[in-house]
Symmetry: C2
């Protein structure tokens, strides 16, 4: 169903039902509503009509049933750290804030899995898991909620070794558009029993269902970690080193690129003295001898390609300092141009095309005069451009929009995707048909209509119905 805003009398009636049921866990204040619209990019904030804070699965079902009866949109909300307007409410409706649903329901150390509620954040989960000697490896940077990470198919720095959310979600319990619970799979590590409903929901951005129990695959904390920074004469040399590393089967856990502008920003912001040239940040996980061997082999590859010196260390404090700088990239960019906003976008290409894609992007940035450092999960061919923008300047916004369009077209030219990990949301809907063709978008739309005929689940995201 093509979506419109709900009639205001109907919406008022829904709000009063929700208030009667959830009292002070239901808010219509402007500030709360605006905090639950998009707040992390330049996409305009579109606030929901009402925000409800359920405490358990049954309450999520209740809310969705009220919404379904009245054909009112529901938008699941985790921490609000998504980047493409995923939590906006273009047609109004109910924001379901899951931040009170923080139970870690079960940890099964022998099976290397756990079951959590969607409001648990990745740092909360990892703090909890430490005593088991386990961790959940997906690290998108932000301390996102696991529900949100399911929704956007998040990945991040560890994905080169541990995969993305698609690889680390074993099963989901989700509230579907009719308010009923659906379980996508059992807790076995693999299954061939029917369609892969787990993977269908992972990355569906809340448009098909709202996950209320998430069964995650865990990893053992590595016995040893080593890592370091390696400078290269060019992006091309760095990318070639990454290709060689992966081809050689070195099971690198993290391998991140920064261009010279990003290094400069990081040096200033994090008070470091890294060489201001293309750098790889690396981390190796394994046994003591294993990580030493991995680091040495990488050092040889780097030297062969004119890179280095590669100084690696397994002292936690040195590593923490480096990775803290990596995690502060967003803030370091903002500090490059105080007052401007940092628009974070991402594309992902086959790794063989990465150097060319980054080089062409840097030329484009130079031509436009934008300030836009580059940082990337280079082992996956995924990179981010943080475009500094004054969104009150229409001329500048136009330049940025042109740049973003060309960035996606370039990714497509190299057989890549408009988003490796941020998701489509509202911001990248316009690129989906060019990326996958009409038949794929029609299939997505048909699935959406089959599972959510009234289009109440996060409408207006990924594609238009």
């Amino acid at each position: 169903m093509a979506r419109t805003r709900v009639d205001s009398a109907v919406m008022a009636e829904v709000v009063s039902q929700l208030q009667a049921r959830f009292s002070n866990r239901c808010s219509t204040s402007v500030s709360v509503r605006e905090q639950h619209g998009n707040i992390t990019t330049w996409l305009p904030n579109e606030a929901p009509d009402v925000v409800v804070f359920p405490q358990d699965e049954a309450e999520v079902q209740e809310i969705v049933k009220i919404a379904a009866a009245n054909k009112v949109p529901v938008i699941a909300f985790g921490t609000g750290s998504s980047l493409e307007g995923h939590v906006n409410a273009p047609y109004g409706g109910i924001s379901i804030d899951l931040s009170n649903m923080k139970k870690i329901i079960a940890v099964h150390p022998e099976d290397l899995d756990c079951v959590v509620e969607p409001g648990v954040t990745r740092k909360e989960l990892n703090d909890y898991l430490k005593s088991y000697g386990l961790f959940f490896p997906i690290d998108p940077g932000a301390d996102a909620s696991l529900g949100g990470m399911v929704a956007t198919r998040a990945s991040g720095t560890n994905a080169v070794r541990y995969g993305t959310m698609k690889d680390n979600v074993l099963a989901l319990d989700a509230v579907m558009a009719n308010g009923e619970m659906m379980r996508t799979a059992r807790r076995a590590k693999k299954t061939s029993a029917g369609y892969d409903l787990t993977r269908l929901l992972v990355g569906s951005e809340g448009t098909l269902g709202i996950a209320t129990k998430i069964t995650l695959r865990l990893s053992g904390l590595p016995e040893a970690i080593s890592g370091g920074v390696c400078p290269f004469p060019s992006v091309k040399a760095a990318a070639d080193a990454v290709i060689m590393t992966i081809q050689s089967g070195i099971p690198v856990a993290r391998i991140e690129i920064m261009d010279e502008l990003q290094v400069k920003a990081v040096n200033t912001y994090s008070k470091l003295t890294l060489p201001e040239q293309p750098l790889l940040f690396l981390e190796f996980h394994g046994s003591d001898t294993g990580v030493a061997e991995q680091a040495e082999r990488f050092g040889e590859i780097a030297a062969d390609l004119g890179g280095g010196p590669f100084n690696w260390a397994s002292r936690p404090e040195e590593r923490s300092k480096l990775w803290a700088a990596r995690h502060d990239v967003y803030w370091s960019c903002k500090a490059l141009r105080p007052g401007a906003e940092a628009l974070a976008t991402d594309v992902c290409v086959p790794i063989s095309a990465l150097a060319d894609c980054i080089d062409e992007t840097k030329e484009d940035i130079a031509k436009t005069g934008l300030l836009a450092p580059i940082v990337g999960h280079v082992g996956d061919g995924n990179f981010h451009v943080s475009v500094m923008v004054d969104r009150h300047s229409p001329a500048e916004v136009e330049v940025v929009e042109g740049f973003l369009k060309r960035l996606v077209e370039r990714a497509h030219k190299f057989d890549g995707t408009c988003t490796g990990e941020h998701g489509v949301g509202q911001g990248k809907k316009k690129y989906l048909k060019a990326e996958l063709g009409e038949e794929a978008v029609m299939a997505m739309r048909a699935i959406k209509q089959a599972l959510d005929p009234d289009n109440i689940m996060n409408p207006g995201k990924i594609f238009d119905v």
Copy 2:
């Protein structure tokens, strides 16, 4: 649409259209048709009305368009090695035999991926990849076609390290029910662009579309391989060793269990002298020092649990002999009871429940008096029972059916699945609702109806529409 057999006049017209177009690549001979019905288990053979052998994607489209215009079933056929009646034609129709589509369209060594047609088998692909120093790790035992492996979400011995087909398919081009081509993804290693149509098709058993181009993720051939056999006093001790091995982060490439009856069968058939007690077969991939370290650490774990001695070797000829015996399990079982058929079934449970599930299954086997060796991909909690059956004895068939039902109920009791890798086909349709609940089966059905409203794509498999 609930499916019935096509009117015979319509079918005759369709056959004559196909004969006119494909001449000697279109057959209605009884023997060819029966070869294209189920031939690998005790499920009755249900032959298609006609078998067509297309040579390229465009021809597959042509066939599906003729089928769509006449609402005639189409069943994709690879090598016929599936085990649950996937290629049967309960409503008649067209078997599309893809064995002529054997092009390896592209190998991208820098990206560790390749693009192949569906008729390429895994051994053919691996022979071709050798010169690149690459391999495709999924090994279901049979020399299945890659199209068939996509369809059943195949896995096998290497899955504990390399994942299953869901983890190793990057993108698919598929002919959909309307005869149009759909591309599920670009060639980037990861994406967050919309619903995961790749994973929706992987494991859909030809009920949603027919893959005509498959983009696969590859791995580098390991620098070194070591492996061996380790005896244990009980299944429980062996399973505990597996749990410890995986928890310790030892990246074991293969870890397979055989019960004492299976070992006996293998000794007889493959002329080996393995100790007739529960055994683990292991293989390690890595660098020279890496595989040595892995094998030593495993040996210590085994010894702690009363297992051993663990004799490991990196001599290829010794390893080949062992793994040849592992691959000949099916034939070794048949030799246990000449004349009987070996019915291969599989379930998969959380690894912590594996020992209990196998032990209870062995007790059940003992009670029924069946001859049924057990072999399993124990690192994934997945095991196979090869039930020897004389399918001309109704009494014996009844005993076997009771056993299979209890096996699945037992897997469910331990939060496992009715099939870890064989798929649902016809044989396990009856278990799907008990496994996932009504809502999940309804969702699958809704997706099927949305993408194939006339129910022409391999009807009668996974669930009834």
